[in-house]
Amino acid sequence: MAMNPMEQFEIKPVIFHDPLFSIAGHPIYFTNQALFMLIAVAVATLFLTATVSKGRLVPTRGQSMAELSYEFVANMIQSTMGSDGLKFFPLIFTIFVFVLFQNFLGLIPWTFTATSQIAITFTLASFVILIMVVTGFMKQGLGFLKLFVPSAPWYLLILLVPIEVISFLTRPISLSVRLFANMLAGHTLLAVFASFVVLLGAAGGILSVAAVAPFLLIVAIFALEMLVAALQAYVFAILTCIYLNEAIHHANH
């Protein structure tokens, strides 16, 4: 049995071995990642619709959680973007719920964590930046470019404008790498410690008893990973809010 901690990130076709179709010459497979991504979406849909279907005045536990997540995102938007940011609510709510459920579902053994793939996180981050740029030019016209010009004496601007441009260009990278790296590192760590448990357990004697140590560590890291899963979803969503806020309101550096 290969104990490669990277194996869990391997993308493989499932159910269908052949590509379903191809787009511009690229074959599209139905992969383990696609399967769990769709399962996460289905679970999120169930969680946010079935719990509120009765619309009880005094909410059940599930309904209360759905309402809490809704109001959490609404308050996040209110506090970072103000009331006129609420038109982005469906987008930010979707981003938050999507990342949150991908992260959480990935913590269950034998599932696949879609957010541990740079292709996924970078696409999401680029999408956010694209929306920001389009909204910015639509709302502020060329004034949106003031984003790159902080209020400073002209001789400082020579230095500051390139810095602002570079920091803007690194946004999709930092946004995507933060989520990707957190997920990848956490899951790798869990797999490494899990392989320690197996190796020590198989070694026999006193070493088998020592296998308890990495096992306890896995429990602790798993708890930490639950926190990271929620926190990274929050961070991704709030950074989206902050970037979109710069698009709809004049940046005042």
Partner: protein, 178 residues
């Protein structure tokens, strides 16, 4: 990713060659399914779940606001009822006072009238009694004059043996009494 990893050699070695997230041949599939999954979730949240949750929350807020407004209305109704009760009580009290006053005035007037009638009666009776007394006195006075005349005539007769006519005696008494 064209075939599942089955053996340690051959395809497996080929597969494990790179860091899985950086294998670009998987990117088209990844991005395609991301778009599908994200779009599906977006439509669900935007069209169904979001409005539904917002509706439930709004409904609860509306219910609470409505209940509070109803409670406020009940309170103001109760206050209005209390005010109306107090007004009615004050009116009734004032009316009762007025009626009592009117009753007392009627009674006083009647008493006054009765007193006046009684006074008048008493005066009449007094006047009648006075008249009677005066008549009696006059009569008594005539009797006294007569007695004086008789006495004078008798006294003269006894003293000097002269009989005096009643007319003379009367004249003499009158002269003395005048």
């Amino acid at each position: 990713m064209s075939e599942p990893a089955v053996t340690h050699t051959g395809t497996e070695a080929q597969h494990s060659a790179g860091f899985p997230p950086f294998k670009t041949e998987s990117f088209p599939s990844q991005i395609f399914w991301l778009v599908v999954a994200f779009a599906a979730l977006f439509i669900v949240l935007w069209r169904f779940a979001g409005p539904r949750i917002a509706g439930v929350i709004g409904q609860r807020k509306g219910q609470i606001a409505g209940d509070l407004a109803a409670a406020d209305k009940h309170k103001s109704d109760a206050e209005a009822a209390l005010a109306a009760y107090e007004t009615a009580l004050a009116t009734a009290r004032a009316k009762a006072h007025a009626e009592a006053d009117a009753g007392r005035k009627v009674l006083e007037a009647e008493a006054e009238k009765a007193k006046a009638a009684a006074d008048a009666e008493a005066r009449e009776a007094t006047a009648a009694a006075d008249a009677q007394i005066a008549a009696k006195r006059a009569e008594a006075a005539t009797h006294v004059t007569k007695a004086a005349q008789d006495a004078a005539a008798e006294i003269v007769n006894r003293l000097i043996g002269v009989s005096v006519t009643p007319d003379e005696a009367a004249a003499a008494v009158k002269a003395v009494g005048a």
